[in-house]
């Protein structure tokens, strides 16, 4: 299968994502922000970084890129979109996901391993995980504190759309050790149709043993499985 990896001015995790896709045994194409062509992608990744310098607000300007019009259409048609870090911020600004990402409560840029509890395996991005499993995946952001109206949070929880929550390494509540102070310790969510995932942690940085964790590969593997299951013409590799 083919992953399309968006590149905005200031994107910095595009090559890391391409490497993770390569490790998974699949191909990727880079998608320039000014283009509209998704290059036949089965899944579009909006990677981490600081698109357009993150001026005004994180993701606020990237949302208007020509490429994002195609991504909006792709998502509306059921295409898989994975937003990581800045990608999550862009998806919220583009209203593909509810809520917003704000300054970490510590006011610090946090670059460290986070432990994520898989809250649902019933998404195309988490099906290769066990519900309740704890994944070690790095975070690297200054503005990752997820906020939304209480009613929005309640709906996300009731619909099983919280994909990942920050926890302690043993899976217990993270308490004050949250990397950013997100409401209800939310680290990742999916949209109503479950074909769009936004997460602050970087699965592509937990993609091979050299990086200290391979847990992030479960997310890429889940996408691969979902696309294979979906495609009549899927050819096992």
């Amino acid at each position: 299968m083919r992953f399309g990896i968006a590149v905005f001015p200031g994107t910095w995790s595009d090559r890391d994502c391409a490497r993770a896709v390569e490790v998974a045994g699949h191909e990727s194409v880079h998608l320039w922000h000014r283009d509209r062509d998704l290059g036949g992608s089965d899944c579009v990744i909006l990677p981490g970084g600081f698109s357009y310098g993150d001026h005004l607000r994180t993701g606020a300007v990237a949302r208007f890129a020509p490429l994002m019009e195609s991504v909006q259409e792709f998502a509306a048609g059921g295409g898989l979109v994975l937003g990581i870090c800045n990608g999550f911020q862009i998806l919220c600004e583009a209203h593909l996901l509810p809520g917003a990402l704000t300054r970490n409560v510590s006011l610090e840029f946090r670059c460290e391993t986070a432990w994520l509890r898989v809250e649902t395996a019933a998404t195309p991005f988490t099906s290769a995980c066990e519900p309740g499993q704890v994944l070690a995946v790095p975070v690297s952001h200054g503005e990752g504190r997820y906020v939304a109206e209480p009613s929005t949070l309640d709906r996300l929880e009731a619909d099983g759309r919280v994909a990942f929550r920050y926890v302690s390494p043993d899976g217990s509540p993270v308490g004050d050790a949250s990397p950013n102070g997100s409401m209800r310790d939310i680290a990742g969510i999916v949209n109503e149709a479950r074909n769009v995932l936004g997460m602050m942690p970087h699965p592509e940085r937990a993609a091979e043993p050299l990086l200290g964790s391979t847990d992030g590969m479960r997310i890429f593997q889940s996408v691969v499985n979902a696309v294979a299951a979906d495609s009549v013409f899927a050819v096992p590799r």
């Binding site: 409560v105 504190r145 906020v147 102070g181």
Partner: protein
Amino acid sequence: MRFLAEVVISLKPVVNDPQGLTVRAGLHQLGFAEVAEVRVGKHIALEVEGDSEVEARRRVAEMCERLLRNPVIEDYRIEVRPSAGAVPASPATPA
């Protein structure tokens, strides 16, 4: 006609403002014990052409709705007046 529009973006009251809390702690440290609350926001000054002040305000409100503020977390208010020339570097203090 040219107008100066000043937009003040503030976090909604329900959104935690760690910058504000940090600034408050700093002010308390300096002895300004009277400071009860601090909220940090953004100030955006725009020079815009328009037929009237009402029209200029309407357009700037549209800019706020579409780009300048995030409706999930931010409120905004707009002040418009005929432009005297240069965009000021900071919000005008009330006379």
